[in-house]
Amino acid sequence: MNTLQLCLVLSGLIFGIGLAAALARSSAILVLLGVELMLNAANLNFIAFWRFGPAPEAGTGVLFVLFAIAVAAAEAAVGLALVIALYRHQRNIRLQDATRLKG
């Protein structure tokens, strides 16, 4: 296993942890943190391929990561605003209780 493969396996494991947390936890904040972790794992992939790729001077991997970080920050802000709105309506942030749209 060379270093690139090590980085990719690490990214896969981080993604697995984030996915398990997003599926298992019931607190909306912890689910959001799991999603953030999955985004970070994807960013790690970009950096690893940029580092060991054939043309690092093009900088595509780093640029993609910068844009992904910006979008993730926007997602976190909107997500946490939704958490606060959820709390205002049902006085807790358990996702199992957010069933108002259930048919």
Binding site: M1, N2, T3, L4, Q5, L6, C7, V9, L10, G12, L13, I14, F15, G16, I17, G18, L19, A20, A21, L23, A24, R25, S26, I29, L30, L33, E36, L37, N40, N43, L44, I47, A48, W50, R51, F52, E57, G59, G61, V62, L63, V65, L66, I69, A70, A72, A73, A74, E75, A76, A77, L80, A81, V83, I84, A85, Y87, R88, R91, I93
Partner: protein, 170 residues
């Protein structure tokens, strides 16, 4: 094989795994900050300094603070930051799903023959990054700026809530 990514990987995985299994949500966030800084250190090791500083500033500085504010704004009691553990069935399913995805990725990566990677760290100066952002990627930069503005305005509107939440309630 390099030792640095191995150590960083162990730190990141241990802190992230512990963070997302804790009951106390404030401790979860603080441990996740450690794992985000570990990822920034990984970027630094890979030679992407600008991305590393962006990661440390945005995640370690901004996102963690926003999450902590959300935790403090949504607790009921004085010390109510505990989250009950998930039921065993859902925990098992989630662990199976996460483990299956990670296992498939790891197996695929290990069995894929990658071209022998160079060991020299690529250099991407900030000046070059700036030229790239302002030149070929200027449109993407503008779109990201518009997206950030719209998302933050929307977040403020959602979090502030409509005034008739209190007045118009039947």
């Amino acid at each position: 094989m390099n030792v640095v990514p191995l150590i960083l990987g162990i730190v990141i995985l241990a802190s992230a795994g512990t963070a997302l299994s804790l009951q106390n949500i404030v401790r979860s966030v603080l441990l996740l900050v450690l794992s985000w800084f570990g990822i920034a250190a990984f970027y630094l090791w890979a030679g992407a300094e600008f991305a590393a500083f962006a990661q440390a500033l945005v995640y370690g500085g901004a996102v963690s603070m926003v999450v902590l504010f959300a935790v403090l704004l949504t607790r009921r009691g004085h010390l109510d930051t505990a989250v009950p553990p998930p039921p065993p069935g859902r925990l098992l399913g989630a662990l199976l799903a996460g483990g299956a995805v990670a296992g498939v990725i790891a197996a695929t990566v290990i069995r894929t023959p990658f071209a022998s990677s160079s060991d020299e760290i690529p250099v991407l100066a900030v000046r070059r990054l700036g030229t790239l952002l302002m030149g070929p990627h200027a449109a993407a930069l503008l779109v990201t700026g518009v997206l950030l503005t719209a998302a933050l305005l929307g977040a403020v509107v959602i979090a502030a809530g409509a005034k008739d939440d209190k007045e118009g309630a039947p």
